[in-house]
């Protein structure tokens, strides 16, 4: 059975966030957003806020994930590079 890198990385990010290893998780998060669109990170953010019971105060993870995903998707088209054959790198 071949496990997709996308799912593995997503599970890893979730596990790191649950374990409280936020700095390592943020590194993987950036990597994930570089390769994928990352809409599912918003769901992860909502779940993490629920896990830490942040919905009783401010859902920091949800709002952060939403902002990061929107920002990444706005920035990414401007960072695309093309080679001599007009192929996207």
């Amino acid at each position: 059975m071949k496990i997709s890198w996308r799912i593995t990385t997503l599970l890893l990010i979730t596990w790191l966030l649950v374990g409280g290893l936020f700095i390592i998780a943020s590194a993987f998060l950036l990597l994930y957003l570089y390769y994928f669109r990352g809409y599912e990170l918003v769901v992860v953010g909502i779940l993490i806020d629920g896990y830490y019971q942040y919905f009783y105060e401010w859902p920091l993870f949800s709002l952060s994930m939403l902002s990061i995903v929107i920002l990444a998707n706005l920035i990414k088209p401007h960072l695309l590079m093309y080679n001599v054959n007009n192929e996207m790198v």
Binding site: V18, G19, Y39, D49, G50, F55, P59
Partner: protein, 311 residues
């Protein structure tokens, strides 16, 4: 065909945008729902994230081989970091000591005082584990110039004890950590004199009244000699109900590791007060005696009277 294609692309983009907008609204809706019913989201999260929570707890607190290895590795990495920092700090301290030592030597050279007083080198024949009463036997005696009361050093300035018995060919050294050893020490830091007494087992202690700020690591020196250090305070016993506190110190090197020591050629023992007092009186008498030859007189009769008076 071209027109159709551009229309299709535009329609596709609009559709994608609409989809994105829809999911954005859904996400915001869920967040608002979570703010309204936080318990609901918490329960869903607890259910969904249960495997993550379990594995995370397992890694953090389990006694299993892998988590234990990971934790001990992490602890070891932290310890290595701490040791490296300490080593760097110590190396800096060592440089400072070296600099101060050189400066001290230069100042001593300027004041024309020798760095180290004259000493004899002696080999340690016996140690406390084979001699009674915590003594040290050295292979130099009165034939070589050893006198009772001479300080015995380990290295340049580490005092080991004092010579208490001398024969022609060997001597015995009373360690400053021997039970019954009593002397005066000076503690650098609080800058106070304090009695030092041997406790035995390679430990001596200085006794101070309560309130004197002593700390671990402060140097305790032998005040009678220009550069002689007993050691540093390694432990403090301070009970607030007691009138005094104790600072315990140990020599820098274990006595059983000593092979060679150096012995000062002069005794540092105090002379008896009666002898000292008699010497002082004699000096004062000599200083106050009128030397008549220094006086110039006007007549021989006056000189004659003075001679008679002095007789």
């Amino acid at each position: 065909m071209k027109t159709y294609s551009s229309i299709t692309k535009a329609s596709s983009r609009n559709s994608l945008l609409k989809t994105k907008l829809f999911w954005l609204i859904v996400a915001i809706g869920v967040i608002i729902l979570g703010l309204i019913f936080p318990w609901l989201i918490s329960r869903i999260s607890a259910f969904v994230l249960y495997p993550f929570h379990t594995t995370s707890t397992w890694v953090k607190s389990s006694d299993g081989m892998i988590p234990l290895y990971l934790r001990s590795r992490e602890a070891l990495v932290k310890e290595v970091e701490a040791v490296r920092k300490e080593q760097a700090s110590q190396s800096g301290t060592q440089l400072s000591i070296q600099r101060l030592l050189e400066e001290n030597m230069q100042l001593r050279a300027l004041t024309k005082s020798s760095q180290v007083s004259e000493r004899l080198v002696a080999r340690v024949l016996d140690r406390p584990n084979s001699l009674p009463n915590d003594l040290l036997q050295i292979d130099q005696g009165s034939d070589h110039g050893v006198v009772v009361g001479a300080p015995v050093y380990n290295g340049i300035d580490g005092v080991v004890g004092l010579v208490i018995y001398v024969t022609e060919t060997y001597s015995f050294v009373d360690l400053f950590t021997s039970p019954g050893f009593l002397s005066t020490a000076y503690i650098i830091g609080p800058n106070v004199f304090a009695p030092i007494e041997g406790v035995g087992g390679g430990i001596a202690r200085v006794k101070l009244p309560q309130g004197v700020p002593i700390r671990v690591g402060q140097l305790v020196i032998l005040p009678g000699v220009s550069s002689a250090i007993y050691g540093e305070i390694v432990s403090i016993q301070n009970e607030p109900t007691q009138p005094e506190q104790y600072g315990y110190l140990a020599p820098s090197q274990g006595i059983n590791n000593l092979l060679y020591v150096t012995v000062g050629v002069e005794s540092i023992l105090n002379r008896e007060s009666a002898i000292f007092e008699a010497e002082m009186r004699e000096k004062i008498r000599q200083a106050t005696t009128i030397n008549l030859s220094n006086f110039s007189t006007t007549s021989s009769s006056t000189l004659g009277e003075a001679v008679e008076l002095s007789e």
